[in-house]
């Protein structure tokens, strides 16, 4: 999923300070799963913001809504019924959702309530780690299911480097050495010989090097 974390409260306070009526919109997908911007977090943030402003004597009107997703125009359209009654929107969705809301409601200021972090998976409850950087040309089939681009600090495709220590990356014992993981997996699969195949220099165009990316499905596009 796309992971995110709520922005510090004082940053959010600065965004909405000029306004009296706020629409606080959550998203029921990724940010719900990583407990950053779902229905529960919307409730918490609304109360937190309300109390913060109450301390200085200001009464904020916050309308709370959680959409199924904010990255599809059909769902964003549901906000149309509420937009005239608010001065600004604070979106708890990832950057994709925030931009879709801003695109639809050009005359209302839209602010992000979370910092979108990375595409990742849950290691254990409450812990999410980066797994994919969307390089557009997936090589997981060649590395035993472990991505060296997302998980190697130097995105080496022919690793490990000389800093790998006890299965950990040179930058921190909290970070696994991706190439140690890949080697262990190749061994477990009986594919040690694959290690010496040189992976050639990557074409980064599919990874965004060729500009902002788009997918067009001819059969589905209207």
């Amino acid at each position: 999923m796309i992971t995110a974390e709520r922005k510090p409260l004082d940053e959010l306070v600065e965004y909405i300070r000029p306004f009296d009526r706020i629409l606080l919109v959550g998203c029921n997908e990724c940010v719900t799963v990583c407990a950053a911007g779902g229905r529960k977090e919307v409730g918490l943030l609304a109360a937190a913001l309300n109390m913060t402003f109450l301390k200085s004597g200001k009464s904020l009107q916050i309308k709370e809504l959680t959409l199924e997703r904010q990255c599809d125009p059909e769902y964003v359209e549901e906000l149309a019924a509420h937009i005239d009654g608010v001065d600004a929107v604070l979106s708890m969705a990832c950057g994709c959702g925030v931009q879709e809301v801003a695109r639809r409601f050009k005359n209302t200021p839209v602010f992000p309530a979370v910092n979108t972090k990375f595409m990742g998976a849950s290691e254990r409850p409450g812990i999410w780690a980066e797994r994919c950087q969307g390089c557009g040309d997936c090589l997981l089939g060649r590395t035993g299911g472990i991505c060296p681009i997302a998980r190697c600090s130097k995105r080496l495709m022919n690793g490990p480097c000389g800093g790998s220590t006890n299965g950990k990356c040179e930058i921190s014992v909290e970070v696994d050495c991706a190439w140690q993981l890949i080697w262990d997996r190749l061994k477990a699969l009986g594919l040690e010989d694959r290690y010496e195949e040189i992976m050639p220099a990557k074409d980064w165009r599919t990874a965004g090097g060729g500009g902002p990316r788009k997918i067009i499905r001819e059969d589905l596009a209207e």
């Binding site: 529960k40 918490l44 109360a47 937190a48 109390m51 301390k55 004597g57």
Partner: protein
């Protein structure tokens, strides 16, 4: 603030803390009327939003009371509650209400005295801290209805 009587909301788990409160009552151990008890099946059932709403509606302090370590009827509810309380304390600091207005306490069902002492201690702590920073602004009717 001579007439300030703190409002403290205490979420008490049915199996231990609430029973301890009951025991305090039956042993005629008095504890301050400032402490408003809310019975929950398990301290782990107390959601972050319950705590935050309690403060939003004017509570000056909140306590989450659960079983002693290892004794939770639902195994790890009290552990989850402790972690949640720690997380909320940070949020309360961010909001400017203050982490010290929220506390997690543990006790067993037979500890009537501990319940009474805890209730007294926390009431005094909150009294010293003064009213919650938002309370000057919250309408008095809202306080009445929260109690």
């Amino acid at each position: 603030m001579e007439n300030f009587e703190p409002v403290v909301v205490a979420f008490c788990c049915h199996y231990c803390a609430y029973t301890a409160a009951d025991m305090a009552g039956s042993q005629r151990l008095s504890y301050p009327a400032n402490v408003k008890i809310v019975r929950v099946p398990c301290s782990g059932k107390v959601d972050a939003i319950h705590v935050v709403k309690a403060f939003e509606k004017g509570a000056d302090g909140v306590v989450v009371a659960g079983c002693l370590e290892g004794d939770c009827h639902f195994k790890t509810g009290n552990i989850r509650a402790s972690r949640r309380v720690a997380y909320l304390q940070k949020l309360l600091d961010e909001i400017g209400i203050g982490a010290d207005r929220l506390e997690m306490v543990l006790m067993s069902a037979g500890m009537g005295e501990r319940f009474a002492e805890t209730a007294k201690r926390i009431t005094e702590k909150i009294r010293k801290l003064g009213p919650s920073p938002i309370n000057a602004m919250v309408l008095s009717e809202a306080r009445q209805s929260a109690c």
